[in-house]
C-alpha cells in the first residue's frame, strides 16, 4: 500500500465489476484477494454491478480508519 496503482482496462460494453476483476487477475504478478471489496465512482459496489464507459473502479483493501 501507499499510493495506488492505476490501470486503464478496455472491456466490452455491459461488462460487470466481476469481469473487470477477472481481467486484473490475468495480469501477471498482480495479487488480488479472493473476495475483493470494490467501489465504483467512489461508492461501494457489488461484483455484478454493470459498468459504463469512464467508470472509476477501485479495489479497497481492508480499511482501518477511525
Amino acid at each position: 500500500m501507499s499510493g495506488s496503482r492505476e490501470y486503464d482496462l478496455p472491456l466490452p460494453a455491459g461488462s460487470r465489476v466481476a469481469d473487470l476483476v477477472a481481467s486484473l487477475r490475468a495480469i501477471p504478478g498482480l495479487e488480488l484477494p479472493e473476495h475483493p471489496v470494490v467501489a465504483v465512482n467512489q461508492e461501494y459496489a457489488e461484483l455484478d454491478r454493470r459498468l459504463e464507459s469512464g467508470d472509476e473502479v477501485a479495489l479497497i483493501p481492508p480499511v482501518a480508519g477511525g
Binding site: 471489496v37 467501489a39 467512489q42 461508492e43 461501494y44 459496489a45 457489488e46 461484483l47 480508519g65 477511525g66
Partner: protein, 184 residues
C-alpha cells in the same frame, strides 16, 4: 499543508438529510484534512438554542496496539470516496436519530501519540439521540471509510493495520468484517 475542508461557504455541506417528519432539517458537515482537528472550529460550534444537548467524540492515537508500542502513525485515504462515504454515514445518522446537526472530521497524514484522529460532534434537542447518533457514526466510519493506517512502532518496525487479513464478505454496507475488531 493542504487542507481538504468543505466549509459552510463552499456549498458542499449537506443541508437536508433530515428524517421523515422532522420539523427542521438536519445539517451535516464533513471534513477530511491533514490539519489538527483540535483546532477545527466547526466541531466546537454545533447546535442552536433549540438544542438541549451537544456531544463531541474524539478518537485519539494510542500508544499501544495489540501489545506493540506505537511511535506514530500515518493515515492514508481514498479522499474523494472517504468524504462521500463519511457524508453518507452522517446523513444516515441524521435520518435515523432526531438530531439537528452532525459535524464529522477525520485527519489524514502523520499523527503523533495523543493527537485526535477522528472527531464527531452532534447537536440535538435531547440527549438520547445525541449519544445514539454519535455512536452510529463512529462505528460505521470504522467499518466503511476507505482510510488506511500505517503504524510505526518503537522497535523500528512498522505495519499497515489489518493488511494480512483478507476481507470477509464484500459489498456495500459490509465491506470490512474484521474478526478482531477492537473497541477504543
Amino acid at each position: 499543508m493542504i487542507s481538504d475542508r468543505e466549509g459552510r461557504g463552499g456549498g458542499s455541506d449537506g443541508e437536508g438529510g433530515g428524517h421523515e417528519g422532522a420539523e427542521h432539517p438536519s445539517t451535516v458537515e464533513v471534513f477530511l484534512t491533514d490539519e489538527p482537528l483540535e483546532s477545527l472550529d466547526a466541531l466546537r460550534r454545533v447546535g442552536t438554542t433549540a438544542d438541549g444537548a451537544t456531544l463531541t467524540f474524539e478518537g485519539r492515537v494510542r500508544d499501544l496496539n495489540e501489545g506493540r508500542r506505537v511511535a506514530r502513525l500515518t493515515y492514508e485515504a481514498y479522499r474523494e470516496m472517504a468524504e462521500k462515504e463519511l457524508r453518507q454515514i452522517c446523513e444516515e445518522a441524521a435520518t435515523r436519530f432526531e438530531v439537528a446537526e452532525i459535524v464529522a472530521a477525520h485527519r489524514i497524514g502523520i499523527l503523533e501519540l495523543g493527537e485526535v484522529s477522528v472527531s464527531i460532534s452532534v447537536a440535538a434537542p435531547h440527549r438520547a439521540p445525541c449519544y445514539e447518533a454519535s455512536r452510529y457514526v463512529i462505528e460505521e466510519l470504522k467499518r466503511r471509510l476507505p482510510i488506511w493506517k500505517h503504524e510505526e512502532y518503537t522497535d523500528g518496525t512498522a505495519s499497515w493495520v489489518g493488511a494480512p487479513e483478507p476481507p470477509v464478505g464484500a459489498g456495500p454496507g459490509r465491506p470490512n468484517e474484521r474478526p478482531r475488531e477492537r473497541q477504543k
